[in-house]
């Protein structure tokens, strides 16, 4: 790889200064004159028909200025994609505890709270669907009321058909069958969801939101409020973490605040409380994954069959797409002769599920990586050797039947973590007879993760660059940054390609009025798609500058040499960057450019379950070392070693930060994060009953990137935000197996599971009901 000036060098996060000084403004930090506060009335029942809703008494409460219900929106506030089954405020029925029903704007939070308490509402409780196994029973209560793609409570189904696994499995020397369970995981970003809606003098609306994708938010507002698109502007405020979690809930909050702002003609701020956020926002799908996996006695994986049953909760949100991503990864990063996958998502009254970091893949690979490990132990093979024998290499056929032509460094990742973790010595040491209360173990898992959206949708982005009169260069992107560092990545790429001092570049906040629509900021696609768009824009701007310089030098553009910001003619005449831009202006050339980049087109056939699901993948492996206390059931993390194969690294501190953060989230997923429902009642309402890892729960993490220049990425970069957490949980489960000799095939592996084998530690129905009913306003 050639060395570059900015790309791959230590650099500071673009917005770091505002953040370390406390000056960065998040939605809750906005205080405007005349601003009023919104509160939302939420369902205390998991499934009920609204038989009476009279919101008018709220208006009698002193300080209350407006109240809204579904009737205050176009089409009863119905929205949603890919399934249009969501509402800004519930219409006719509620489908989960926390479902929003009405919203109030008042001069203070207290008045707003009193306002929603004054609303008259009568529910008729409906039977609850809480067990995914019974959601499709013929007599199951039906949850959706709109045209879902399935029938009854079926949200969607997906399939993968590569060869014929049944006859192969019949002839395999060893066949493993296992069922693996995954609980919901809460994003638990430290900043809750919110929006500030401001009515404009022309009847329009400006919304500052902590959403992921402002253009989708804008389009929803246009549809729900019946405003022309040019009158709605969405600006992304600083976002205090998202991890996939601030899409649909963000659009819902923005619509509520927006409608109230239009009604009151005052700025309206809505910020959810933590408990509201836990109740009302979507989270990672719970899943049950059944695997049948066959191998020959010499350790060659032959065929796999996987069944996924996915809990979509009360609404579809991104579950149809998450379950698709899960289905096309479900047999893991290995060579097979045949693979079949069948996935079904079902509606229940367990909150609702949607996008979260990894988008179905942490579950899919969480299951297969435990199964592959079990098979390795059955065959008395070292788990890393077994994976090295079977893992994808360049030119192999993946589990979906497509050939992976990119450079694959998965084996290198496995060898890297093997060496860095001192795997061979520790595995031997812990395999010998351990005695006493504290038992140690070491485990491995590896992953592949389809880059960007794949078959999930159109995959493009646009960056604009403009040279301002003062010599600064303004950059906009339609993709956003909620902490992952993409703004810094775009600036580094632009400076590198333009050959200029990075201090010249100013990046605008994401804003639907200054940026160009670029699809959603999801699927770890900002670096690859947004980065390429930035590079294209920079190349276009460079072309203009080279023309200007060539005219001044009386030479051809390709005869010009560059040394940083200085342009040299073949005769060693020189021009500074600012001189060249002035010349370009005098030539009448525009110094505003747009660069658009689109992923190469490929096809996945959803009906036949065949095709190419992704243009390219990232790969990686992790080793986890644990110590299990057999008396308390507690697992202490001793270390994690991670290696990621994602092309060239653009912003090293940002990339490492993604890896550390992903591993920590994976540790929580493996050991403590237990978001469960009992009869539709959530069992966690705050951080004291939902434990995300604290600093003293996270061990030292050894962070490694296997770098190469990937042909499709900007300067060879692929992507990395989501994949980092995928292998952590199964590596921990596999380490716990070495320590204890037991496999529970469930996450999280809480002390209750380790001690009692049960994963239902706190199903206190009376308490849960009470707490569920006592929803804070």
């Amino acid at each position: 790889m050639t060395e570059l000036k900015y790309v791959g060098k230590r650099s500071r996060p673009e917005d770091g200064l505002e953040k370390v000084t406390g000056k960065a403004r998040y939605v809750g930090d906005y205080f405007l004159p005349e601003m009023v506060y919104a509160k939302v009335l939420r369902s205390p029942l998991p499934h009920a028909r609204i038989v009476k809703l009279d919101a008018s008494p709220a208006l009698q409460v002193p300080g209350v200025l407006a109240v809204i219900t579904a009737e205050d929106f176009i089409n009863h506030s119905n929205f949603g994609w890919p399934v249009k089954d969501a509402y800004a405020l519930a219409w006719k029925k509620v489908r989960y505890i926390g479902d929003p029903v009405a919203a109030v704007a008042a001069v203070s939070e207290e008045s707003a709270r009193a306002g929603i308490q004054a609303i008259l509402i009568k529910y008729e409780a409906l039977p609850v669907v809480s067990d995914i196994h019974h959601a499709l029973d013929p007599d199951a209560p039906i949850i959706p009321d709109t045209d879902a793609p399935g029938t009854g409570n079926l949200t969607n189904s997906h399939l993968v058909r590569f060869g014929h696994p049944d006859p192969i499995l019949e002839n395999c020397d060893v066949v493993l069958e296992g069922t693996y369970f995954f609980k919901h995981q809460e994003h638990a970003y430290l900043e809750t969801e919110g929006a500030l809606a401001i009515p404009e003098p022309d009847g329009g609306l400006t919304v500052y939101a902590n959403d992921q994708s402002p253009f989708i938010n804008r389009d929803n507002l246009v549809t729900l409020l019946g405003l022309p698109v040019e009158k709605v502007r969405v600006i992304q405020a600083y976002v205090g973490g998202s991890f996939g979690g601030k899409d649909d809930i963000g659009y819902q909050s923005s619509a509520q605040a927006g409608a109230l702002a239009l009604k009151t003609q005052r700025p309206v701020r809505l910020v959810l409380t933590r408990t509201e956020s836990f109740l009302a926002s979507y989270r990672r799908e719970a899943m049950e994954i059944k695997i049948k996996l066959g191998a020959s006695k010499d350790g060659e994986l032959k065929a796999a069959k996987v069944n996924l049953l996915v809990d979509s909760g009360g609404y579809a949100s991104m579950t149809p797409l998450c379950s698709w991503r899960a289905s096309v990864h479900a047999a893991g990063a290995y060579r097979y002769q045949a693979v079949h996958v069948d996935a079904k998502s079902v509606y229940t009254n367990n909150g609702y599920s949607g996008a979260m970091r990894g988008f179905g893949n942490p579950e899919a690979l969480g299951a297969i990586e435990q199964a592959v490990d079990e098979l390795a132990y059955q065959l008395e093979r070292d788990p890393i050797d077994f994976r090295l024998q079977n893992c994808l290499t360049t030119g192999d056929v993946a589990m979906t039947g497509n050939t992976v032509n990119q450079t694959v460094n998965l084996a290198e990742c496995l060898r890297m973590v093997q060496k860095r973790s001192d795997w061979d010595r520790k595995r031997n040491l812990y395999a010998s007879n351990q005695a006493g209360t504290l038992r140690r173990g070491i485990g491995v898992a590896c992953y592949f993760h389809g880059s960007s959206l794949g078959g999930e949708g159109a995959d493009y982005a646009t960056t604009t660059l403009k040279v301002e009169e003062d010599g600064l260069i303004t950059l906009t992107s339609g993709l956003t940054d909620y902490g992952q560092g993409s703004r810094t990545v775009f600036m580094l790429i632009a400076a590198e390609e333009l050959g200029i001092d990075i201090a010249r570049i100013r990046i605008m906040r994401p804003d639907t009025q200054t940026g160009i629509e670029s699809g959603p900021t999801v699927a770890s696609r900002a670096t690859m798609v947004g980065g390429n768009a930035t590079r294209v824009a920079a190349q276009r701007l460079n072309q203009v500058l080279y023309w200007a310089a060539a005219k001044a030098f009386h030479c051809q553009p390709n005869q010009i040499n560059r040394q940083g910001e200085i342009f040299y003619s073949p005769n060693e005449e020189s021009l500074k960057f600012d001189e060249v831009t002035s010349l370009a202006r005098r030539m009448g050339l525009s110094l505003y450019v747009q660069g658009k980049w689109q992923m190469p087109v490929f096809t996945w056939n959803f009906d036949t379950g065949t095709g190419v699901p992704y243009h390219c993948y990232t790969f990686g492996a992790q080793v986890a070392e644990v110590e299990v206390n057999l008396e308390s059931g507690k697992t202490r993390m001793l270390g994690v070693w991670a290696a990621h194969d994602g092309g060239r690294i653009i912003f090293p501190q940002g990339a490492s930060g993604q890896m550390y953060g992903g591993v920590a989230m994976g540790i929580g997923y493996a050991l403590t994060e237990h978001f469960s429902y009992y009869q539709g009642y959530p069992q966690s309402l705050n951080f004291h009953d939902y434990h995300i890892p604290r600093a003293n729960d996270v061990p030292p993490i050894d962070c490694n990137f296997i770098q190469c220049d990937h042909v499709d990425g900007p300067f060879g970069a692929l992507n990395l935000a989501e994949p980092m957490m995928i292998s952590t949980a199964p590596a921990i489960a596999n380490a716990i197996f070495q320590a204890t000799g037991k496999r529970w095939r469930t996450f999280p592996l809480t002390p209750q599971v380790i001690l009692k084998g049960s994963d239902n530690p706190d199903l206190d129905t009376s308490n849960a009901c009470k707490r569920g009913l006592g929803i804070p306003a």
């Binding site: 230590r10 500071r12 996060p13 917005d15 770091g16 200064l17 505002e18 953040k19 370390v20 000084t21 406390g22 000056k23 960065a24 403004r25 998040y26 809750g28 930090d29 205080f31 994003h187 638990a188 970003y189 430290l190 900043e191 809750t192 600083y238 976002v239 205090g240 973490g241 998202s242 991890f243 409380t273 933590r274 909620y482 902490g483 992952q484 560092g485 090293p652 501190q653 940002g654 490492s656 930060g657 890896m659 550390y660 953060g661 992903g662 920590a664 989230m665 705050n686 951080f687 004291h688 995300i692 890892p693 604290r694 600093a695 003293n696 729960d697 996270v698 030292p700 993490i701 962070c703």
Partner: protein, 170 residues
Amino acid sequence: MKIEFTLNGKLTKVEAPDSMNLLNLLREQLGLTGTKCGCDTGDCGVCAILLDKSLVYSCLVPVSHLEGHQVITIEGMQNLDGSLSDLQESFLRNGAVQCGYCIPSMILAGEALLLQNPNPSHDEIREGISNVLCRCTGYQQIIDAIEETALIRKNKLKNQSEKDMEIAND
């Protein structure tokens, strides 16, 4: 009620309802929004500030407890000339900042720790910041930043005392 306390080095007089907590006083009445709210129940720590040099959750401090005490928030962490403190610089250098929401409290947690223990081990840093939750960073680069600052301060002290020794010897 009327309260007098020292806020970021300045004597501050406020009038606030008895029931108000320090978090709301800072954010809503005094306009200091660098201190964040993450849960309002004393679990997450992103509202942590320094009260008489100790790290406390501002959502759990009633305004009535403030009389005569010293409060430092992120707005009071920069050097007197407005430049970043060594710890703030170190957070940026080490890439310790992602979404940034916990960062004000993390910086104060680091400062409180270094005040009590200028030479903390890795484990002591982990313990020292474990009252503030972060969902983005996995804590590693925050720990690196605090460790680096401890080292910088130690070297500064050493250089200073060597200088003092030279002056004394002259």
